[in-house]
Symmetry: C2
Subunit: 453 residues, 2 copies
């Protein structure tokens, strides 16, 4: 048989997460208090996060041990498989060898449980009774709902309105896990009511939903907040993906020339890429690392690298990142997980340092790639993952054009089982591309806080 699957034994689940921070040639900019513009300390974050998570957020340790209780839960689906996409290679008639790491084998169907389980574990240990969060497409919300069910914590999810309406099955999954789900903007919070007063038919955004979740968590001493992307500790937890992939690529006897992932907040991309970028910094790899973002919400390719809020109502600290402006509400594309105005500070920093590159893909191109992939490989990707598929196919076709053998590795971060309405709309010709909303972004950027560091 031709090898198409590279599996690691259970004892190869990484014992530590990889922290890229100490390996960076230039340290990332500090997180600032929104009032004083001074760097925040752990205590400033204590109302929102358990202390073990806060310490990970600011850690300079290169390896952070994964608790056995977390590895035990991981063991249900980790190590995840690495696949060689041989049927896709044949379909594209490319000399490239295409590999994908498949995170859709987790029970919630994406990479999100990698951090959801860790966050639920630390919160449980520190006595949190309820976790409050936001969700875009629902991948994160359902992962946190599942993790909370495992550890016996209540879970409250603010789901971006457009996804709440587009993806009722996602909501049903969260509710089956016992979570409470509200559409965002909601009337349950000051932030939500303020948005609704101005825009009664707001489709919501991750930025708005974050405001609502942060507000609820900050007001209740028994609740904490959990974020599914953007922050350092979230990206840290996702590095199990890349650590496993490093070993699996070795099993396959190939070293990737190009590494591709889709970016919304940056966590699945970072999860796969950071261990490889670490090798690149150490001169052990020359791989190109490509972030693929939606053309409708192009923070890396069209945003400004500056200090901004993580949320729309400006309740969070200020972080330095590529941003389209925190009051920018992206068009209602189906890749709800990519509808975020900003980008993880660490991913932003890597782009600024030239260690990674970024491209933007239109919605219709992403879905065309996803359908092609599904017919070749049988797996229907999440709309977010379609962007990574499109990026990988583009690289494979370039290799064909150049007649170059090339090894491409991408992160298939989740399946699209709960997103089939998007495919129904795509096949019915109801999906559209979105021009880069330059005017709206310019307006949103004009309102950014002036920070002098």
């Amino acid at each position: 048989m031709e090898s198409i699957k590279y599996l690691l034994a259970e004892d190869r689940i990484p014992r530590a997460w990889y922290n890229i921070t100490p390996d960076l040639p230039v340290p990332p900019a500090p997180v600032l208090h929104p009032g004083t513009h001074q760097p925040v300390g752990p205590d400033d974050l204590a109302p929102l996060f358990p202390m073990s998570v806060i310490l990970q957020e600011v850690s300079n340790e290169p390896r952070i041990e994964i608790p056995e209780e977390v590895r035990q839960v991981y063991a249900q689906w980790r190590p995840t498989p690495l696949f060689r996409a041989r049927r896709l290679e044949k379909m594209l008639d490319t000399p490239a060898r295409i590999y994908y790491k498949y995170e859709g084998v987790s029970p919630a169907g994406s990479h999100k449980p990698n951090t959801a389980v860790a966050q639920a574990y630390y919160n449980k240990k520190e006595g949190t009774r309820r976790l409050v969060t936001e969700t875009g497409a629902g991948q994160w919300g359902s992962s946190l709902a599942m993790a909370c069910a495992f550890f016996g914590i209540e879970c409250k999810v603010f789901m971006v309105r457009v996804s709440y309406d587009q993806k009722p099955y996602r909501r049903a999954l969260m509710e089956a896990f016992g979570a409470t789900v509200a559409p965002s903007p909601s009337r349950e919070t000051d932030s939500g009511r303020a948005i609704l007063a101005e825009h009664p038919h707001s489709t919501g955004s991750l930025g708005i939903a974050i405001s609502e979740a942060v507000e609820v968590a900050a007001k209740d001493p028994h609740s904490k907040y959990a974020l599914g992307s953007v922050l350092n500790h979230v990206l840290l937890h996702q590095t199990v993906i890349g650590l496993e992939a490093l070993e699996q690529m070795e099993m396959a006897g190939d070293d990737p020339d190009v590494i591709v992932g889709c970016t919304g907040g940056g966590s699945n991309f970072a999860g796969l890429a950071f261990p490889f970028v670490g090798r690149k910094i150490k001169g052990k790899s020359k791989a190109r690392v490509v972030a693929v973002e939606p053309a409708a919400c192009p923070s890396l390719t069209k945003g400004r690298f500056t200090y901004d809020f993580g949320d729309t109502a400006h309740l969070t600290p200020l972080v330095k990142m590529y941003t389209l402006g925190s009051i920018f509400v992206p068009p209602g594309i189906h890749a709800g997980g990519l509808r975020y105005h900003g980008m993880s500070p660490l991913v932003s920093h890597l782009l600024d340092l030239g260690l990674i590159e970024a491209i933007a893909v239109q919605q219709l191109d992403a879905f065309a790639a996803g359908v092609q992939f599904a017919r070749a490989e049988g797996i229907i990707p999440a709309p977010e993952a379609n962007h990574a598929v499109a990026g990988a196919i583009r690289e494979a076709l370039r290799a064909k054009q150049e007649g170059a053998s090339r090894v491409i590795l991408f992160n298939l971060c989740g399946h699209g089982h709960f997103d089939m309405q998007a495919y129904i709309d795509y096949h019915a010709g109801k999906l559209q591309n979105y021009d880069y909303p330059a005017d709206e972004v310019a307006m949103a950027l004009a309102g950014l806080p002036a920070v002098e560091v």
Copy 2:
């Protein structure tokens, strides 16, 4: 770490399917021609199936080799994992050890690709250009659509009306794979038009959809028919499940005392159970083997063991099976894959011989079990699989009551990602139990052909 997952290496994908027929203490009754009531020969079936499949249908070989091309496709997701449901055990506070074989890891999300891939392969080899089939819940239709995409065959699916309306995402998946899907009963066939003339609002049934698919396939020399359950060759292809599970239970150091599967046409149940029943026949096991069927369509517990047609329009040969009468249209429960009037002749035969037992479960009990399982194990089962979960939980609670340590193995034949409307309805209190429709069944049974053998 506590072991919760038992994985086999790729080279442990079985090299041969297990044929239970030669091991049976009494041979099963022959399949009869509907006109002559004489046993059918291979040529009678040639308009519908490729010859290699027909020969498997009637084979007496104990082992039937799996073509390397089929194993190559299997290798994407097989061997499937065997899990120990430790969190469920704790939730139930049972001394029983509960294991489940999880077939939902296939790209189409169920056990159905095990036979879909084999059937598509043999058809491609024998020159079939199009496969025509029916689907209930859509698990089978999407699996065949996927297999046809892999082998470059067209695919036409008649989808039972109630599922077509309840499960638009399943349809979208089939269409993403390139298949054409029609609701059944349709106006495309004589059988469909006849049903619609009498019942314009018919919700359809597997029996009706089979009639439509058989009719279309029989009329077109380039098309063949593919069935997703019931027949011997389908059950044969599914035995990879049990063959792997035998090895995995050995890895786990446990021998099952009870084996549980849900039954509609019988294929996932047989796939897991037959290799264990084979051991039982040979005196190597005393395991109880329990088929769990829906109370709304209780062929094994309330049907008659007699000759009947496989479809409603009476286009198929006559098979001896437990049946509720081929014109019986089961209530529109959400476990669409279990809405079949009959039962696989081999499974029926085993029940008649006392080698297996059967119980019926109400819809609400099945969903309650499924939600409990999801909160413990993170996997949301298909409505069909909920019946197996309910059966396994019943056994685990009985073990607790008896204070008996007991090893339970069940088949989690698929996930419910495309069936979330059922969970939405369940949580909204919209699902109901169905009394056994005794009058309708009596009427359907009264119309059975009188066969003297």
